[in-house]
């Protein structure tokens, strides 16, 4: 499965199986993401979206295959990537200010020196101004709105000038306006050359507006441009439920009222899948 929009591969997974010691989440994943791509990972809960990000980050065990960043295997060393975790995983009572969180992105630049250099602080201010959170630098992270909180963690990821940005559900739990702001911001970063890989479970609101999608369900079900792969059949194989797709102004829209397939439907669907690939 390859994103053909751009030429130079920046992330390559070759026959990767990964997950946790008692739960192999991803099986035989082969995926190439080119420099400057903007890729959305789509799939139901437990399909391996977050695990795929963690596999690229090198924080989960890889049982088989290899992951290459810029053509080099990540085995034994961590690639320098920007990573924005799910906000649900953050301890909002932890006593840290916005600036302290942003500066964490520079921790490994001078790890045994307890202060940050002036140029590092200037860089943090620059990033925070760009993301319109500089006035909140000394605020506690709990005191911010959902969109502002997302920007804080985005700023932490951007402060080390990553060429690849990984985001886990960046639009989860935010209102429509904030969702638009986040996607717009990511598109701006992508236009400036940052390769973006993000997970989402919002098909109509987010996934359909991304340039490239990968549908996951433990393995790669399909990948391509949204208008090419968002079909009833692909979604059925991805989610294990019937999700009708209708067309509106040339764009697919998913009717998100999934009905679990019965056994016969499953057989029909797999027959259809085989004939498509035959």
């Amino acid at each position: 499965m390859q994103n053909t929009e751009h030429k130079n591969p920046i992330v390559e997974l070759r026959g990767v199986s990964s997950g946790y010691p008692e739960n192999v989440v991803l099986s035989d994943i082969s995926l190439t993401i080119n420099q400057g791509a903007f890729v959305g990972l789509l799939g139901p809960s437990g399909s391996g979206k977050s695990t795929l990000l963690r596999t690229i980050l090198g924080t989960v065990p890889i049982f088989r295959g290899e992951v290459l960043i810029d053509g080099k295997t990540i085995n034994g060393k961590r690639p320098r990537l920007g990573y924005v975790p799910q906000l649900e995983t953050i301890d909002w009572n932890f006593p840290v200010t916005v600036q302290e969180v942003v500066m964490m992105g520079r921790t490994m630049n001078n790890p045994l020196f307890p202060w940050y250099k002036t140029e590092e602080k200037s860089r943090a201010l620059e990033i925070m101004e760009r993301l319109e959170i500089s006035s909140l630098a000394n605020h506690h992270i709990r005191a911010l709105s959902g969109g502002q909180q997302q920007r804080v963690f985005l700023a932490r990821a951007l402060i080390s000038n990553p060429r690849i940005l990984l985001l886990d559900e960046p639009t989860s739990g935010v209102d429509i306006r904030t969702r638009h702001e986040v996607i717009h911001l990511l598109q701006e970063l992508n236009d400036q050359g940052v390769t973006i890989i993000m997970t989402t479970h919002e098909i109509n609101a987010v996934a359909l507006h991304l340039p490239w999608l990968v549908c996951l369900n433990g393995e790669i079900v399909d990948s391509g441009k949204p208008q090419d792969i968002i079909t009833t059949e692909t979604l059925s194989r991805t989610y294990g439920a019937d999700m009708p797709v209708i067309q509106h102004d040339g764009m697919p829209i998913v009717v998100e009222t999934p009905r679990p397939r019965d056994h016969q439907d499953t057989l029909d669907s797999s027959d259809a899948h085989e004939s498509t690939h035959a």
Binding site: V96, M108, H140
Partner: protein, 291 residues
């Protein structure tokens, strides 16, 4: 008021309590923020087993108990990583077994000349020059580790998974933390006692957290509060004639209650002021007349 200071043992105990309190307050910040309060309680019990074994085997107490505590902490980490056992359960098994070993040895060998009551509840009278020296060494060591590893510990405590993805050696940080925690507990035993150390570790950072929202300030405040509680507790113990450990913990608990009361009242007043100010800014609207 200065009467206790005419005794050399009190002056020595006073200095030890100030240093041990600061040490526990400093370490306690990471314990509380990692939600590991139970490990301080458990490790202090494990160290008791190590102390008894060291005594029986004629090994230096500080060395033997520190190694025992460190190994117990590593065993807890290893058990929770490799098996389907929660941290609290692993702490419960390993540290209680270690404590039981200490009790069993004491019961078996009746010829003990050393008082283990002091180890359990703390005794300022038993603080020696060697204890003071050991405390100073550990304070310097822990202070240096926390100072130099400030950024690493902050990131690893706040967001361990992301810290790991950024190259922070989180597994090594956990090991190093286990070592400084074990060393802190070992040198605190004589002043605070095995059964009371955990409160001295937990209360100062909780009080500091109630007062500040900033990590750096919380560390400074918790360290100072720990030292203050150590001093206050030891001073009170002279007059009320109770074990130093109990006195320090009761003094700390009193501070906690006062600060909790203050923050609750000030929080409510702040909300009331905000609501009043908001209501004053609102433009009065005519609700209209309904006939």
């Amino acid at each position: 008021m200065l009467e206790p200071f005419q005794y050399e043992f009190f002056v020595r105990g006073f200095i030890c309590a100030a240093l041990v309190g600061a040490l526990c307050g400093l370490i306690g910040v990471y314990i509380v923020l990692r939600r590991m309060a139970y490990i301080g309680h458990g490790l202090s019990h494990a160290v008791f087993g190590g102390a008894v074994v060291s005594y029986v085997m004629s090994i230096n107490f500080f060395l033997g108990a520190s190694i025992w505590g460190f190994l117990s902490a590593l065993l807890i980490t290893f058990t929770t990583r490799k098996n389907k056992i929660g941290t609290d359960a692993a702490i419960g098994i390993i540290t209680t077994a270690s404590f039981a070993l200490g009790v069993a040895i004491i019961s078996r060998f009746k010829s003990f000349t050393r008082s283990f009551d002091a180890a359990l509840f703390g005794n300022i009278l038993g603080v020696t020059e060697t204890d003071l020296l050991a405390i100073i060494i550990v304070v310097i060591f822990v202070g240096a580790v926390v100072f130099l590893g400030y950024k690493l510990f902050l990131f690893a405590t706040f967001d361990p998974e992301v810290a790991q993805s950024y190259g922070v050696p989180t597994a090594w940080m956990d090991t190093l933390f286990s070592l400084i925690l074990a060393a802190t507990i070992v040198v605190s035993i004589q002043v605070l006692g095995v059964t009371l150390i955990s409160a001295a570790i937990v209360i100062p950072p909780i009080v500091a957290r109630l007062l500040v929202d900033n990590f750096k300030l919380m560390i400074i405040l918790s360290t100072l509060l720990g030292s203050f509680c150590g001093i206050g507790g030891i001073y009170a113990s002279y007059y009320i004639d109770v074990s130093s450990g109990a006195s320090v913990v009761l003094f700390s608990a009193l501070i906690f209650i006062l600060v909790l009361g203050y923050t609750s009242v000030s929080g409510r007043l702040k909300v009331r002021r905000t609501v009043t100010s908001h209501e004053r800014r609102r433009i009065p609207q005519d609700s209209g007349t309904f006939d």
